[in-house]
């Protein structure tokens, strides 16, 4: 078996689930004949036809709402947002209708909403967003954001089989930049379980998505240059969040750097910090620090985007500060 990219892993997951369960179908803008803006669904319509691969009008609210209705009736919709930035256009129906369906009306609503997310690609303020913080706050939703090709496949397959609505964010910077050999067989990554991306003793980095790779770079640099042993936790799932894995790494290193690409205020790092505080305060030898984007809309020009988004050198600075604390 040969290596495939993060993007190909998502596609493979889609094909396998469409093949496994005839109730699975895809809907979104330009996903059919064209195969999607990033070609993630390339070939899907050719194989499964227009009934199971639906090109929709430019109507994110209709896409999410129609998916919910179909899900009530036993189908398993997979919605594509052409860019995840446009999920905001379905914010109301997703947080109010979909997220509450089971609780307020005992209506099952198994569906997946996926789409290209994240920056570092000169996409500007409306093609680079990280939407996780906007939904972390909504009981009834689940959120995953894979950093590796095998997790991209395994989490998508788990999301499609989940009984509730899973927001599946795929990082477009990783689409074609990372490759990996897929585990054999029916590969499922459990939702709600973090991954230890790198073992370490001195400092922990808790992160997810594209910044996992920057964290690993930084970890290697400080090991080389400072002899520091850094553990890197890839959360993979944000809702539910793997609190046990977070507490375990805190107890191990007693120093935590939380890193995310998203803007700082109101970002996911706050929730992680609060949980560490509640569950492992006595184990902290230093404050939990955050390395994040600056609190501005993401600008497009390379010098500006590079300034706003967290970079490897920032993580290195954070690790050194914690180690010296």
């Amino acid at each position: 078996m040969s290596e495939i990219t993060y993007l190909e892993a998502i596609r493979e997951g889609l094909f396998e689930e469409m093949e496994r369960d005839k109730n699975v179908f895809c809907l979104g803008e330009d996903i059919g004949a064209y195969g999607g803006a990033f070609k993630v669904t390339d070939g899907l319509m050719a194989k499964y036809g227009e009934q199971r691969v639906i090109d929709t009008p430019i109507s994110e609210t209709a896409i999410i709402g129609a998916a919910a209705g179909a899900a009530h009736m036993g189908l398993r919709p997979v919605c594509e947002m052409q860019f995840i930035d446009f999920l905001s256009s379905a914010y109301s129906i997703l947080t109010n209708y979909v997220a509450t369906a089971r609780y307020r009306a005992m209506l099952p609503c198994p569906m997946v909403v996926r789409g290209p997310s994240g920056g570092y690609v000169r996409g500007g303020p409306f093609h680079s967003q990280n939407p996780e913080a906007a939904f972390l706050h909504t009981p009834g939703l689940k959120i995953v954001y894979p950093a590796t090709a095998s997790d991209a496949k395994g989490l998508l397959k788990s999301a499609i089989r989940d009984e509730d609505c899973v927001l599946y964010f795929e990082h477009k910077y990783l689409y074609r930049r990372i490759r990996e050999e897929m585990p054999a067989g029916d590969h499922l990554t459990p939702i709600g379980k973090a991954r230890v991306a790198r073992e370490g003793r001195d400092v922990s980095i808790i992160t997810y998505a594209a910044t996992v790779w920057k964290a690993l770079e930084a970890a290697e640099q400080v090991e080389r240059e400072d002899g520091l042993s850094v553990e890197v936790i890839d959360l993979r799932s944000l809702l539910p969040m793997d609190e046990d894995a977070i507490v375990a790494t805190v107890k191990k290193t007693n120093r935590v750097l939380v890193v995310h690409e998203d803007t700082r205020t109101g970002g996911v790092a706050g929730e992680i910090t609060a949980r560490i505080n509640e569950k492992a305060f006595e184990w902290l030898d230093a404050p939990v620090l955050r390395i994040t984007a600056a609190d501005v809309p993401l600008p497009y020009s390379p010098p500006l985007e590079d300034y706003v988004l967290p970079q490897t050198s920032d993580i290195v600075a954070g690790l050194r500060k914690l180690a010296a604390y």
Partner: protein
């Protein structure tokens, strides 16, 4: 009654209590009486709810459909429950829900926020549904049910089922983006969907002229490239027939129809609304000249139905409502910790927060503030 050929792919046990068949013929005498029964049940049940509201037994606001019983009942009656048709009601569609099999005791329990109400006290008033009986609970956000029903009916089409869906929107809700996206999506996909626009003249206090520049909402059908029907929503038979044409069209693969039903909201948006914004005399005129039940009774009598037959139905309705009230009254409020159950399939229960471990209630009494503070204005 003959099951549809696609019975297999229908929800398990679609119950059949209604004398309706899916024949194309005119309504039978029995069916005509059933229409009366549902309209009367709607009105009397709401009147009972008003009493309970005055006794402060209702938690939250009370929403009436006085004067709109015909549009709700007549339109829902055009569906075929034996085929597993599904509808999505709004706040004025108590009558539609009753036609689909909703029960008075469920309604009263919902309004009283009881633990054994269909939503176990989680949602208000008639915000509930039942897939088996074929109705889906609305949420407050107007317009959202249109995309949802587009998806429900998309599933009928994908599975080649012989089923139809019907969704209600008010004149006001036609202004929402969700309505637009949903009806357009269904139109393109030629989903077997009927969109009933209940034009009752007002959205809360806002008259139609401030909601849209069209004078009749059926014109919106043209903008979506779909069929349009219009009927007198206070004429239950006309309403039934117009909706039936739309339902038949949908079932025959003709896609979406927008049905405008012209009616009038005689009560306020909710009980607390004093309707100060309504021109003097308007309400009385509709009450005197155009009450859907009065009109229908006259018609039934002309058709040879007798006063005793009608009186018998009235008595039946009263009995059912009395029984339902007693049952609802006697039923318990929810157990506080049930609040933690069923947000997700997995985990099935959210663990209590640390400061609530072992605590069943953090307050002595569950006082009932005057709903949203809108009662006492």
């Amino acid at each position: 009654m003959a099951r549809s050929s696609t019975a297999a792919s229908k929800p398990a046990n679609v119950r059949e209590e209604s004398p309706r068949t899916n024949d194309r013929g005119p309504l039978s005498r029995e069916q005509k009486l059933e229409l009366y029964y549902f309209m009367r049940l709607t009105r009397s049940l709401e009147e009972r709810l008003v009493n309970l509201y005055r006794q402060t037994k209702v938690v939250g606001g009370l929403f009436r459909s006085l004067g709109q019983e015909a549009d709700a009942v007549g339109s829902a009656y055009a569906l075929d429950r034996s085929k597993g048709d599904v509808l999505s009601p709004l706040i004025r569609n108590l009558g539609s829900m009753l036609v689909q099999g909703a029960k008075p005791n469920e309604i009263i329990k919902q309004y009283m926020a009881k633990g054994d109400s269909p939503t176990r006290g989680r949602e208000l008033n008639i915000h509930y549904g039942d897939l088996v009986r074929g109705f889906i609970g609305q949420i407050s956000h107007l317009g959202d049910m249109v995309p949802v029903m587009a998806g429900v009916t998309l599933s009928f089409k994908m599975r080649r089922q012989d089923r139809v869906g019907l969704v209600y929107v008010g004149d006001g809700a036609t202004s929402t983006g969700a309505f637009h996206e949903g009806i357009n999506f269904a139109a393109v996909q030629r989903c077997p969907l009927v969109v009933v626009v209940e034009n009752n003249g007002y959205a809360y206090s806002t008259p139609l002229s401030k909601q849209t520049a069209v004078t009749q909402l059926v014109d919106k059908a043209i903008g979506y490239g779909i069929a349009g029907e219009q009927a007198d929503g206070n004429d239950v038979i006309a309403t039934y027939e117009a909706t039936k044409r739309a339902v038949d069209r949908a079932r025959a693969g003709g896609g979406v129809t927008l049905v405008e039903l012209i009616t009038y909201r005689r009560k306020g948006h909710a009980e607390h609304d004093n309707q100060s914004y309504v021109p003097a005399g308007e309400i009385d005129r509709w009450a005197l000249e155009n009450d859907p039940i009065d009109r229908y009774v006259r018609r039934l009598l002309d058709d040879g139905v007798t006063q005793p037959e009608i009186a018998a139905l009235d008595t039946r309705v009263q009995k059912e409502i009395d029984l339902a009230t007693d049952e609802a009254d006697a039923s318990p409020m929810p157990d506080p910790t049930d609040a933690l159950v069923g947000v997700y399939a997995d985990p099935p229960v959210v663990p209590p927060l640390w400061f609530r471990e072992g605590i069943n209630s953090a307050v002595e009494v569950n006082e009932r503030p005057s709903s949203w503070g809108t009662h006492d204005v």
